[in-house]
């Protein structure tokens, strides 16, 4: 069944969700040919491996505080030295990579869900719903993520959920706002019109036609957001409304040592370096995904013709 597979709209293709994913796979494979692609995939890969390993093994136990050796310099047992409680810097950074990975993944999932829900409402055929939601998104997008987090932190206290919800809502709104023009264009395209005329339901059109065609925009936007989530986690934790005390995260490692930057600069450099590397890698990944996607799309067309 593919009423509209020969539709005239070249930019937006009807149907073909699986084709989108194969195209994504091909884009990722092509990325590996460039230095930037190798770098970003290597960093992200390392991050995931370290995060998983830290669930089972860290060089030192996280609770191995030793007040007599607080801030001590790197040694064979403590490769990056110790923090202000005498705990091993490297172990905390490794364990922090798991927390950050969880936060990034859950935030992206939440942002995608919120974004899709909002897009669905905005392309809805019920004029009232789409109008109100569009205006609401435009208004809500002006509220900074930090403010949402601050408001959430008052009743719930500092927690990982606050970071995820604040960022998820913020980036979900962003995603909806950015994807809306394209979504509206697709919703009005001929193949959607013909599907409607064949009696397709709104849900069917959304899942079968609109979302697959929005996939490239959404993936690029979400991968760029992923980098921002890492930064937001560090920032919110530094403000005391992010990851709670006792839970390892990069932001926490930064927040506890940044007060002593003048005396123990290296203890700030390590978590700072990790955050920088990962954010650069995620942003680069997003950029490449966008670049390759367009080229990839063209080549796909060529392949088809």
């Amino acid at each position: 069944m593919n009423v509209s597979s020969h539709g005239p709209n070249r930019g937006a293709l009807p149907g073909g969700g699986s084709r989108m994913f194969s195209r994504l796979r091909r884009s990722v494979v092509r990325m590996c040919s460039g230095a930037r692609g190798i770098f970003s995939l290597a960093v992200i890969g390392c991050w995931i491996v370290v995060a998983v390993v830290s669930r089972f093994w860290t060089p030192q136990t996280l609770y191995g505080t030793d007040g007599y050796h607080a801030w001590s310099a790197p040694s064979p047992d403590h490769w990056l030295g110790r923090d202000g409680t005498g705990a091993d810097m490297l172990s905390w950074l490794m364990a922090g990579s798991w927390t950050d990975l969880v936060i990034v993944v859950l935030t992206i999932v939440l942002a995608a869900l919120i974004g899709i829900a909002l897009i669905a409402a905005m392309v809805s055929r019920a004029r009232g719903v789409s109008g109100v939601v569009t205006v609401a998104v435009d208004a809500l997008i002006s509220i900074p993520t930090v403010l949402i987090a601050l408001v959430l932190a008052v009743p719930f206290g500092a927690s990982i959920a606050v970071v995820i919800v604040a960022c998820g809502v913020g980036y979900g709104l962003n995603l909806a706002r950015i994807a809306r023009p394209e979504a509206v264009l697709i919703a009005r395209s001929d193949f959607v019109e013909s599907a409607v005329s064949c009696g397709a339901s709104q849900a069917y059109i959304l899942i079968r036609h609109i979302l697959p065609n929005l996939m490239s925009t959404m993936l690029v936007q979400l991968s760029l957001s992923a980098g921002t989530v890492v930064l937001a986690e560090s920032g919110l934790t530094y403000l005391g409304i992010g990851v709670p005390s006792g839970v390892p995260s990069w932001g926490r490692s930064l927040a506890t040592s940044v007060r002593f930057i003048a005396i123990h600069p290296m203890t700030v450099v390590w978590p700072g370096l990790v955050v920088t590397l990962v954010v650069v890698a995620l942003n680069m990944f997003g950029d490449l995904l966008r670049d390759r996607w367009d080229t990839g799309a063209t080549r796909d067309e060529e392949d088809e013709s």
């Binding site: 609770y63 505080t65 007040g67 705990a87 005390s245 506890t256 003048a262």
Partner: protein
């Protein structure tokens, strides 16, 4: 009667252990610090005439000395030492909300105003002992119910008004009648009268051992009832300084009152007190010469200054700050004495102190060394993990089946203490969940609603043993013997009995383990070389600056 030492006695100093054998003090006729001088007289430098340039050439040491010459001249005519700077800056941390010491709470106000701008009937020295203030001497009736103070002669306020006994009586009566800050400390006073111009008599309803100490604080301050000024932004008192500039949360400028009545006039003509909420900014200010003194700073932040003894001095002063890890006396798990004792045995306080830089002192009970009733109680609960494990095992908990407790404290104390406590309690079978919250949340949950297992607060007040005699306080500690002893101590007619009974009560409190006293926080003060007379003990509540001088050293 103690010898008259001026309105505020000098503070003793404990020199930093790592820096004994101080380098020779800069010579009085040393040339002045060029950077400082540059900052102070930029206009003069800019508008310098040829004469000054010639002078600089003649002296041939450089512009530095050329600038120094006129400046030293003016310093000589001032009240300071020969060669001492006319002006200096000190950096503090917490700024007062406004200058109205009658209605605005906060130790920052006591710190800047008491002994500098306002003076009390009596004063306190650096050992927290009562010394003469406006009163040169006093005595009390044998039953401890009437105190008679004899005032100095010829006292005056900075606006020229004379200060007599009726000003003292008016000030104290006004405080009691209007319920100004700390007026509850004078609940036992029945009347304050001025039988003649140089005598003040305070009558009590019942003996009150802490009366004199209380009068060194806000309740004893004397105000000019004929002066009209905006109390929130100005201050008119009888002290050695007047306030010439007040920028909220930023700067307070103290100007020496040349006509100060007392013998102990201010030795530095002008002191700019600057407030730094941010530690890094404070450290940078000291390093760049914007301030010559910084107090307090943490030991870790002080390390670069300790390592540079040629330019800086770092001293550690005694204080009355007690870091209290309170156990909720009415909590489900913490009402069990064995749990509380186990926690006390499990905590390695020396390690906590070491991680903070080693300046703080161990404290085994509710009374710090500068308060009456102090005894070394650190031996009651030594660090003994084996004993802690046994006690927890009796309650049915071990490492595999831990007891879950929550520690709630304000983020201002940093996350390190919570992390360390969690690590230290884990082996004995306590899974400590640490919640670092906003101070307002702590106030709401712990202080008001008593909804907590463990809490950590720096109780910084002096003479605050009464907290342990109040069963409704957030500690939830209710021991009738301690309450009886406390009443007895406050009714003691002489300080020795008072201290003896308090010590007895403090020992009982510590043994009952309603809390663990992690350490007695000691205040670290860093100064550039050449600063003399800056109080280091108790300087977060009591900072008489009359003796401070700064003699810039030879670079």
């Amino acid at each position: 009667m103690p010898e008259y030492r001026g309105v505020h006695g000098s503070s003793g100093a404990t020199e930093d252990r790592r820096r004994r054998g101080r380098a020779k003090r800069a010579l009085p006729d040393a040339s002045l610090d060029d950077a400082l001088n540059e900052r102070i007289r930029p206009m003069r430098v800019a508008g310098r005439s040829g004469w000054w340039g010639l002078l600089a050439a003649v002296i041939a040491i450089g512009v530095v000395v050329g600038i120094a010459a006129p400046w030293r001249g003016s310093a000589n005519s001032g009240p300071g030492l020969i060669g001492a700077a006319h002006r200096m800056s000190i950096g503090l941390k917490l700024a007062p909300g406004n200058l109205d010491i009658r209605t605005q709470s906060g130790a920052a106000l006591d710190q800047i105003l008491i002994g500098n701008v306002y003076e009390g009937l009596v004063a306190r020295d650096g050992e927290n002992k009562v010394v003469p203030g406006l009163a040169e001497s006093w005595d009390s009736s044998p039953d401890g119910l009437v105190y008679t103070f004899r005032l100095h002669r010829g006292m005056r306020f900075s606006n020229g008004h004379a200060l007599h006994a009726d000003d003292v009586a008016w000030s104290i009566n006004e405080l009691r009648a209007r319920g100004y800050q700390d007026s509850e400390q004078l609940e036992d006073v029945s009347s304050v009268t001025a039988p003649d111009a140089a005598t003040v008599r305070i009558a009590l309803k019942a003996p009150y051992a802490s009366l004199l100490w209380v009068l060194t604080g806000r309740p004893g301050l004397v105000f000019d009832r004929r002066a009209h000024y905006d109390r929130a932004t100005q201050a008119v008192g009888s002290g050695p300084y007047t306030i010439t500039r007040y920028v909220p949360n930023s700067v307070i400028t103290l100007q020496a009152d040349d006509r100060y009545w007392g013998a102990r006039k201010a030795r530095t003509a002008r002191i700019d007190v600057r407030y730094f909420a941010d530690d890094t900014a404070a450290v940078n200010a000291l390093r760049s010469g914007d301030v010559q003194v910084l107090a307090p700073l943490t030991q870790s932040l002080a390390q670069p200054f300790v390592d540079d003894p040629a330019q800086y001095e770092v001293k550690v002063g005694e204080g009355t700050d007690k870091f209290v890890l309170a156990f909720n006396g009415t909590g489900a798990a913490t009402s069990d004495l064995r749990v509380r004792q186990a926690i006390r045995y499990a905590i390695d306080r020396r390690q906590l102190i070491a991680s903070r830089g080693g300046a703080d002192a161990p404290l085994g009970g509710p009374i710090p060394s500068l308060d009456p009733g102090y005894e070394d109680l650190t031996g009651l609960y030594p660090h003994d993990p084996a004993k802690a494990k046994r006690l927890m095992a009796e309650t049915g908990h071990d490492r595999a089946h831990p007891l879950r407790l929550t520690l709630t404290y304000a983020h201002i104390y940093g996350s390190e203490l919570g992390d360390q406590l969690r690590s230290q309690l884990r082996p004995i079978g306590i899974d400590l969940h640490v919640e670092v919250v906003e101070f307002a949340t702590w106030l709401q949950d712990v202080y008001t609603n008593h909804d907590y297992d463990l809490s950590l607060v720096d109780h910084n007040e002096s003479h605050d043993f009464y907290l342990w005699a109040d069963p409704d306080y957030y500690f939830g500690y209710d021991n009738p013997t301690v309450q009886r002893l406390y009443r007895q101590a406050s009714r003691a007619s002489n300080p020795q009995d008072n201290a003896r009974i308090l010590a007895q009560a403090a020992r009982i409190v510590s043994r009952d383990a309603p809390a663990d006293w992690l350490f007695n926080y000691r205040i670290t003060t860093a100064t550039v070389k050449g600063v003399q007379g800056f109080p280091v003990n108790l300087n977060q509540t009591l900072l008489p600056l009359a003796d401070v001088t700064y003699t810039p050293g030879k670079e």
